[in-house]
C-alpha cells in the first residue's frame, strides 16, 4: 500500500542535549486511521509538527507522500484540526464561515468562493451533522459542536492526510465518543489517512486500527487490543468492549 507518512530514525531537540524525540521510526500507509497517544510532554505535538513539515528533525528524515515534509508541494491536501483552545476567534463567526475557510487553499486566495466550492462546504457541514446550524454563531455552540465545525473545515479541503491534535481537549467524555464515532464514519466513507493525536485516546480505541504510544520515542505500536491493560484509558473503558 502507498505510504502517506514516513519518519525514519527521527530525532528532535529544541536545545542541544535535551532530546524531545529519539530514534522514531513510523510509517503510516494511505487510508490508515492511527491514534498517536502519550503523556503530556512526551513529544506528541513535536511529532505532529514534524509530520506536517512545520519543524525539521535534528536527525533522520520525514517524508509526506514520498516528498520531504518541509518541502511538500501539495500542502493544500493536508487537513489539520488544532486544539480547540488554539483556534477560532472571540468575534462573531458562523459555522459556514469557519468551514468555508478550509476551502481557501483549493478555491484560491482572491475573490468569493465558486459554486462548486460552496457545494463542498455545504456537504462537509452536513456530514458532521451541523446542517441546521450552518448559520449559527460558533460561540453559541457547545464545545463538541465547535470541534465538529473545525473537523468539517478540515474535510472541506478534501485532504489526503488529516491530522487532529488533541481534538477533544476540554470536551466531556460523551462528546469525545460522539466525535470519535463521527471520525470513524467519515474515515470509512472517505478513506482519508487520519492521525488522531491525543493523550485521551480511550474514545478512539474501538475505532482505530492502530495505536502508537509516544514517550520520547515510540514505546508501543500495534492494534489497541494488544495494548497492556494497565495502559488503557479508564475513562473510556466501554469503548473497548
Amino acid at each position: 500500500m502507498p505510504v502517506a507518512l514516513e519518519l525514519d530514525e527521527v530525532g528532535f531537540s529544541y536545545r542541544p542535549g535535551q532530546p524531545v524525540l529519539t530514534d522514531v521510526d513510523l510509517t503510516v500507509a494511505e487510508g490508515e486511521f492511527v491514534a498517536v497517544a502519550g503523556p503530556n510532554g512526551g513529544g506528541k505535538t513535536t511529532l505532529v509538527r514534524l509530520a506536517l513539515g512545520l519543524a525539521r528533525p535534528s536527525s533522520g528524515s520525514v517524508r509526506l507522500f514520498g516528498e520531504p515534509a518541509h518541502r511538500f508541494s501539495c500542502r493544500e491536501t493536508l487537513g489539520y484540526v488544532a486544539q480547540r483552545a488554539q483556534v477560532g476567534t472571540e468575534g462573531p463567526v458562523t459555522v459556514r464561515e469557519v468551514v468555508s475557510s478550509g476551502r481557501l487553499a483549493q478555491g484560491g486566495l482572491f475573490g468569493p468562493l465558486r459554486r462548486r466550492d460552496r457545494a463542498i462546504v455545504d456537504e462537509a457541514i452536513a456530514d458532521v451533522g451541523l446542517g441546521d446550524l450552518a448559520d449559527a454563531r460558533l460561540g453559541d455552540l457547545s464545545g463538541g459542536q465547535q470541534q465538529r465545525a473545525f473537523i468539517a473545515k478540515a474535510f472541506a479541503g478534501e485532504p489526503s492526510l488529516l491530522v487532529l491534535d488533541e481534538p477533544t481537549a476540554g470536551v466531556d467524555a460523551e462528546s469525545q465518543e460522539a466525535l470519535a464515532r463521527l471520525l470513524g464514519r467519515l474515515h470509512a466513507d472517505r478513506g482519508v489517512t487520519t492521525l488522531y493525536v491525543s493523550h485521551e485516546f480511550g474514545a478512539v480505541e474501538g475505532i482505530v486500527e492502530r495505536l502508537v504510544l509516544v514517550r520520547g520515542g515510540i514505546v508501543f505500536d500495534g492494534p489497541p487490543h494488544a495494548l497492556p491493560s494497565a495502559w488503557h484509558d479508564p475513562s473510556h473503558a466501554h469503548a473497548r468492549e
Binding site: L78, Y80, E90, G91, G102, L104, A105, L109, G157
Partner: protein, 266 residues
Amino acid sequence: MLESEFMRLAFATGAVVGLLAPAVGFFLVQRNMSLVGDGVGHTAFAGVAAGYLLGVEPVLTALVAAVAGAVGIEWLRSRHRAAGDQALALLFYTGLAAGVVLASSAGALDVDLFSFLFGSILTVTRGDLILVTVLGVAGLLLIGLLYRALAAVVIDEEGARVAGVPVAALNVLVAGLAGVTIGLSMQIVGILLIAALMVLPVIAAGRVAWSMGSSVLLAMGIGLLSVFAGLTVAYYADLPPGGAIVLLAAAAFVVTSALEAVRARA
C-alpha cells in the same frame, strides 16, 4: 458647514478614513492585537517630526514611518524576537522618544505638531485628499479581494499555514495596511487617537453582528458615522475632531451593548 471648502475636504477624507480604519482594525482586533495601532501611531509621530526636520511633507514621512513600524512589529512578533507585548512596548516608547527629540531639533514642538497629535479639520488639503483617496480605496479593494484569506488566518492561523496559505505574507500585508491607515488618518483623527477608530467600531459591531462578514461591514458603518458626526460636532463646538470622533465611536459601543442586552432578554 459644507459651504466651507476645508469642511468638504475633511468630510471626503474622513469618509475614506472612517471606512478603512475599522476594516483594517478588524483583523488586528480578532488577532488580539488591538493596541498595535497605538504603537504604530507613535512611530508615525516620529515620522511627522522627521518631516519637519528634513523639510519634507510630514504626511509622507509619517506614512513611511508608520508602515515601517507596523511591519517591524509583525516581524518581531512572527520571529518571536520579542515576547507578548514587548514588541509593541519597544515601538511605542522608541517612536515617542524619537518624535520628541526630532521635533525639538526641528524647533517644531508647537501648535502645528498638536494638530497631528489630536487631528485638525483645517489641515486637510486637496493634495491630502487625493493621497488618502488613492491609497485608501486601494487598501479597501485589497481587503475586499483578500477577505477570505485574511478571515481564514483569523479563524485558524496554524491550520491555514499547514494548508499552504501564505500566512506570513498576509500578516505583513495587514501590518502594512495598518501603517498606511494610520498615516492617512492622522490629520482627521490625530496620531494619539487613530488606534481608537481602528478598534472601537470593531468592538461595538461585535456586540450585535451575526457573522464575521456582518461584523466587518457594521464596523465600517459605525466608523463612517462616527467620523461624520464627530466632524460635525467638532465644527460647531470648535473641538479637536479626533476627540469628538472617538467619543462618538465609544458611544456606539454603549448603544450596541444595550442592544445586545435587550436581545439576550428577548
